[in-house]
């Protein structure tokens, strides 16, 4: 197992380098001049040149790349053009909010999705299955901001069950929870829908396996067979999906934060967009890269925990 962990950690390094390179490439290959984008179409050539110099865009491409990579790997993600503060300081201030939201949404998605999928598989083609399939199809068709706005209209404005503003005091768990329920549920819906579908199809496959019949034949109660033997074997594809959609969750958390007016990475991105804070955007993209690589690493390690075969491979 230790070997496996070390191997995964080592394998994450080239991935990280590749993702960072990708960020650099995307930022540079995008046609158009960031300096012009920042200053607007009517900027004088001198102003554009000055901005290019300030951003380091007048240097050769490889030199920009080397600087970007070495700074990033040393933990220097740059400073904001607008506030002149290091980007990491701003990020660190709001990261807990985004992480809490994402993790809560993940929990909501799993807690709703897995049982729904299992029940749908157990009662295949009965009304509960049809219902679950329809609801999950509806769930994954909701853009997060649409479900967010609808939830806000219903549960915060029409029936004021939850607060409208989501800026929680992190020291007060009850306050955090109160302001988390609505956004986390909204964000978790899509994930729940995907997990339901994957759990259902994976469980249907497992239910037809011989070892399920054997377990039942040797007298294990059916409920135990399903939840112990069945789910454990159906779990691998589910973990894959959870891992895959954490990335999507992180992306969608931007929208959730806007709708529920929560502090977080999403809010920073949007304000950076409004202020044309080019260095901030690049820094944030780098932050997202690190998050994605870490999430992928955790997913891989979870595989090892669930599936004993992976460790040896």
């Amino acid at each position: 197992m230790i070997f496996y962990v070390i191997r995964r950690l080592l394998a994450a390094i080239p991935t990280l380098l590749a993702v960072l390179t990708l960020v650099f490439v995307i930022v540079r290959i995008v046609p158009g001049d960031p300096a012009v984008a920042i200053l607007g179409d009517r900027a004088t050539p001198a102003a554009v040149a000055a901005m290019q110099h300030r951003l380091g865009l007048d240097r050769p491409l490889w030199a920009q790349y080397v600087t970007f990579m070495s700074h990033t790997l040393q933990g220097d993600f740059g400073t904001s053009m607008v506030t002149n503060r290091p980007i990491l300081v701003d990020v660190a201030a709001v990261l807990p909010h985004t992480l809490i939201l994402t993790i809560a949404a993940m929990i909501v998605g799993t807690v709703m999705g897995v049982p729904a999928g299992v029940f749908a598989a157990l009662y295949r083609n009965r009304w509960i299955d049809v219902l679950v399939r329809m609801v999950s199809l509806l769930g994954l068709s909701f853009p997060v901001f649409v479900s967010g706005v609808f939830a806000l209209l219903l549960f915060a404005l029409h029936w004021p069950l939850f607060p409208v503003i989501g800026n929680a005091n992190l020291a007060d768990p009850l306050d955090v929870l109160d302001k988390l329920v609505l956004p986390a549920t909204t964000l978790g819906i899509i994930m729940a829908a995907y997990i339901t579908r994957v759990t259902r199809s994976s469980m249907l496959q497992v239910l037809s396996e011989d070892y399920m019949r054997t377990a039942r034949a040797k007298g294990v109660p059916w409920r135990r067979v399903v939840w112990r033997h069945g789910l454990r074997n159906a779990g691998l594809p589910v973990v894959t999906v959870v891992g895959l959609y954490v990335g999507i969750l992180i992306g969608n958390s931007v929208l959730t934060e806007i709708v529920f007016n929560r502090p977080g990475l999403g809010k920073i991105i949007v304000s950076a967009l409004d202020q044309r804070d080019y260095t901030m955007l690049q820094g944030l993209m780098t932050v997202y890269c690190f998050l994605i690589v870490v999430v992928n690493l955790i997913t891989d390690l979870t595989y090892g925990l669930i599936d004993p075969r992976v460790k040896q491979a």
């Binding site: 995307i26 999507i248 949007v270 967009l273 992928n296």
Partner: protein, 276 residues
């Protein structure tokens, strides 16, 4: 009737999906003829009117008719999603097919790059690209297309991998056919149905991404009506005029739902496990 169409029609979900999609496409095409007002006309005295017999879905802060704007907004959603997914299908599909066909180390590296691209949240990727390019329709199409290139490369790869092993591909080479002919004349038609099914499902994602970017303020510039943009405007007035965000939200939901239903039905109908 063709057994494929029969299987599709026998599935009520698919039928509903097809009806939804056709209805929205018709709304988009016929918008100039069926919308009661010009989507940009500001009826100054009728600002923020709730739904009524004159303005079926109410009016917005500038007194523009919400129904007309919803109908016209369908055009942006459809054009952006169709164009971006077609582009991604062509580019990503070609990358996946060629890479898999070449095989070996090149394939390994290309697919690793695609996996890296794939692991990046598409909304963030699209957001950054549009932010850098500026919010124009063509840039939106480029950005959303870019986010779907990697998935299509992956999707196109799997069937090519199994086709490549078929003897008729080797026969083509023995007969002196060029690689391009083997790949595009012989392999492509055999994988097309699988790829098109996925294209439908990805179109749903593209509609969602376009609406999301517009909601953030990176969509096609106002005053042009887009569903995401209307929600953004409506969100600012959510306390006074909830209908401003509800109706475009429903429109987005219906289109995404319709595409997902069609895609699901197509997939079930083409799935060899369910065939026959």
């Amino acid at each position: 009737m063709n057994p494929f169409l029969k299987r599709m029609a026998s599935n009520p979900t698919t039928s509903v999906g097809v009806v939804l999609c056709i209805a929205i496409v018709l709304a988009a095409v016929l918008a100039p003829y069926i919308s009661p007002f010009d989507p940009l006309d500001q009826h100054i005295i009728d600002k923020l009117k709730p739904p009524s017999s004159t303005y079926w879905l109410g009016t917005d802060t500038y007194g523009r008719d919400v129904l007309s704007r919803v109908l016209w907004g369908a055009r942006i959603s459809l054009v952006v999603s169709v164009a971006s997914i077609s582009g991604a299908l062509l580019v990503g599909g070609a990358i996946g097919m060629v890479s898999c066909y070449i095989g070996g180390r090149a394939d390994l590296y290309i697919m690793q790059v695609m996996d890296v691209l794939l692991s990046f949240p598409s909304l963030i990727l699209g957001l950054i690209v549009v932010a850098l390019l500026g919010p124009e329709m063509i840039n939106l199409i480029f950005a959303i297309g870019l986010t779907a290139v990697a998935p299509f490369a992956r999707i196109a790869r799997a069937p090519v991998l199994s086709m490549k092993e078929r003897a008729f591909v080797e026969a083509g080479r023995a007969l002196g056919f060029s690689h391009i002919r083997v790949l595009f004349v012989h392999i492509l038609p055999n994988i097309l149905s699988e790829v098109l099914v996925m294209a439908t499902l990805w179109m749903a994602t593209a509609v969602r991404t376009e609406a999301s970017l517009s909601f953030i303020g990176l969509g096609v510039k106002p005053p042009i009506a887009t569903w995401g943009g209307m929600m953004r405007d409506g969100f600012d007035a959510i306390l006074d005029a909830p209908w401003l965000s509800v109706f475009p939200g429903i429109a987005i939901l219906l289109l995404v739902l319709g595409l997902n239903m069609v895609g699901d039905g197509l997939r079930d109908a083409t799935d060899p496990k369910l065939a026959g």
